[in-house]
């Protein structure tokens, strides 16, 4: 009896959770006159997507976001790997203090330092560029922390064996540590990509042209200015911007969930 009630409760919650998205999918794939009329024989259409695509430079926004996400991830991986290696295996002077200073960023993220970072970007002449969006996030405390924990579990013997063969610090890092940390890199990569694909407030502040605007900002400009209240087109654009991430998530669901898990367990 309680089992049945619980199943019912779980399913009610599940349906409630899926409802907003299902509603959006319905609206986007049907002509506008069916957006609030739910009849089963409503004709399907892709026209809303075509209209949205034609109404704003979404192709450019896609390129911008892809470049941005790739750029941030590559720099993050390099910087965090080097720093994590230093923290894990080099007893340099001031290491404990430096590590604490890195951890500050876990609490005070670039997201809240918008006023001062805008000033800095303006002084560097970087406003309205992809670099302005990405730079504050490139040294990621979270990435350094995650990789440091992983590198610390690498058996010392492997490190020493590589050293005996004459490998220097960087070569040892590349040949011993990086391959062993692969699952962590994948986990961090997925979390980073979805974070920066979705990031909005900071890009909104530092960009003001089509040349640098990522998808999220483009979507906001599009839906607030151009379209008024044509919900079919707005929901189509909304699904379009989340599309690649959503499809990737549906295909690699297990990896996504495990990555978020791995990234959260410290």
């Amino acid at each position: 009896m309680t089992r049945a009630l619980e199943t019912l409760g779980a399913w009610l919650l599940g349906v409630g959770w899926a409802l907003p998205l299902a509603y959006a999918v319905w609206t986007a794939f049907h002509p506008a006159e069916y957006s609030t009329r739910f009849v089963l024989n409503a004709p399907l259409t892709l026209e809303n997507f075509a209209k949205a695509w034609a109404a704003a430079p979404f192709a450019r926004y896609f390129v911008n976001t892809t470049l941005l996400v790739a750029m941030i991830l590559v720099v993050q991986l390099v910087l965090c790997t080097l720093a994590a290696y230093a923290f894990a295996r080099f007893a340099f002077a001031g290491r404990a203090a430096a590590f604490l200073l890195v951890l500050v960023q876990l609490m005070i993220m670039p997201d809240v330092l918008i006023v001062e970072n805008y000033r800095t970007m303006s002084r560097l002449g970087l406003l309205d560029t992809l670099w302005a969006i990405g730079l504050p996030y490139m040294a990621s405390a979270f990435g350094i922390f995650l990789l440091r924990q992983t590198f610390k579990t690498v058996p010392r013997e492997l490190d020493e064996a590589a050293r005996v063969e004459g490998a220097g610090a960087l070569e040892t890092l590349w040949r011993v540590y990086v391959p062993l940390a692969r699952p962590v890199y994948i986990a961090y990569g997925l979390v980073s990509v979805s974070y920066h694909w979705n990031n909005f407030l900071w890009p909104l502040i530092v960009t003001n042209s089509v040349q640098s605007r990522p998808l999220t900002v483009g979507l906001q400009v599009f839906s607030s200015v151009d379209q008024g209240v044509d919900w079919s087109i707005i929901t189509a654009a909304t699904l379009m911007t989340s599309g690649p991430l959503l499809v990737a998530f549906l295909l690699f669901q297990r990896q996504f969930v495990q990555s978020f898990m791995r990234a959260g367990i410290r």
């Binding site: 619980e6 409760g9 779980a10 399913w11 919650l13 599940g14 959770w17 907003p20 998205l21 509603y23 959006a24 609030t36 910087l79 965090c80 080097l82 720093a83 290696y85 230093a86 923290f87 295996r89 080099f90 007893a91 340099f92 002077a93 200073l101 890195v102 500050v104 609490m107 005070i108 997201d111 809240v112 918008i114 006023v115 001062e116 970072n117 805008y118 000033r119 800095t120 730079l135 504050p136 040294a139 010392r156 610090a169 694909w197 979705n198 909005f200 407030l201 999220t216 979507l219 906001q220 839906s223 607030s224 909304t238 989340s242 996504f256 978020f260 898990m261 959260g264 367990i265 410290r266």
Partner: protein, 307 residues
């Protein structure tokens, strides 16, 4: 601790070339990340403090020292207090509910419930969607007249209501969106923790005739404490960090009823371009986050043991 220096096996005293190399190499490896961290995290924190004591520069006059003037203005600014209150309500509403729901979801999805993977998909999907896109969808959902919510309430005969346009309901609507977006994310951490618990615990309890609720309350929940605290800290930070949906759904209105602290900083700093006041407001936010960090440090170290 096993480190490079201990490998060299030489005691304290004069540093050997080997030890020098460890110091230099360590700092060189750290350097690129350290430079970016200092420029975009530590420096801005200091600069926020400094600028909060200055006035705004005018075309014919540079920014000047005004002491606590910005803070005096803040204390006298009714909107500031309203925003702080909003944020407190927002935190009080979203944090416990999203954590409780996350735990419930995890327990359900971890058990032998029919359609488990579909449920997990439904719960987790909001997490990977951009908040800005999600906000658009919910905006439509709440639209007066023909949004889905209105249609549902109309079905049961309730009068039409402008959910986002009324002071009484707007903040609540935003809380629902936040909870919807976050609960599935937190569920993942509970799920991971639940899966790491030994199944023998449950079997032993069942043998001794303990009910499921009793077992959950006395065994599972205490064992999940580290996860709960981790999730709690994240939820608290998010309640001060996540304002994307406000930009889309209400722009802080009506009458600032949905403005949260970070949104107000954005408004003051980048719409009114009152950057001096925005710096003072940012400092308040930083103090709140520092308090959270301190609280986490004390709580995690005293009360919880991580393996």
């Amino acid at each position: 601790m096993s480190d490079m220096s201990s490998m060299s096996g030489i005691g304290a005293g004069s540093a050997t070339p080997r030890q020098w190399r460890v110091h230099v190499q360590g700092w060189l490896l750290l350097l690129p990340a350290a430079v970016l961290l200092v420029v975009f995290t530590h420096f801005p924190v200091g600069a926020t403090l400094y600028h909060s004591f200055l006035s705004n520069p005018r075309p014919n006059r540079a920014a000047g020292w005004v002491g606590l003037e910005n803070y005096r203005a803040m204390v006298e600014d009714p909107v500031f207090w309203q925003v702080l209150g909003n944020n407190a309500w927002f935190a009080a509403g979203t944090i416990p509910l999203s954590i409780a729901l996350a735990l419930l979801m995890a327990v359900w999805v971890n058990g032998r419930i029919p359609g488990r993977s579909l449920l997990r998909l439904a719960f987790f999907t909001p997490t990977v969607l951009p908040m800005i896109a999600v906000a658009n969808i919910w905006l439509f959902f709440y639209t007066p007249g023909y949004g889905l919510l209105e249609q549902l309430t109309g079905l049961v005969g309730l009068p039409s209501h402008n959910w986002l346009g009324s002071r009484g309901t707007a903040l609540g609507c935003l809380m629902v969106v936040t909870i919807w977006k976050e609960a599935g994310f937190f569920m993942i951490f509970y799920l991971a923790a639940l899966q790491s618990l030994s199944p023998q615990l449950g079997e032993a309890a069942a043998l001794m005739g303990a009910g499921r609720w009793y077992f959950f309350r006395r065994v599972t929940f205490p064992l999940l404490m580290p996860t709960t605290l981790f999730v709690l800290v994240n939820a608290v930070i998010n309640s001060f960090r996540l304002v994307d949906h406000i930009v889309v759904m209400t722009k802080g209105g009506p009458d600032n009823a949905t403005a949260l602290l970070l949104y107000y900083i954005y408004d003051v700093g980048f719409k009114f371009w009152d950057q001096a006041y925005a710096a003072a407001l940012t400092l308040v936010l930083l103090v709140i986050l520092a308090a959270v960090a301190l609280g986490q440090f004390l709580l995690l170290d005293r009360r919880v043991h991580y393996q």
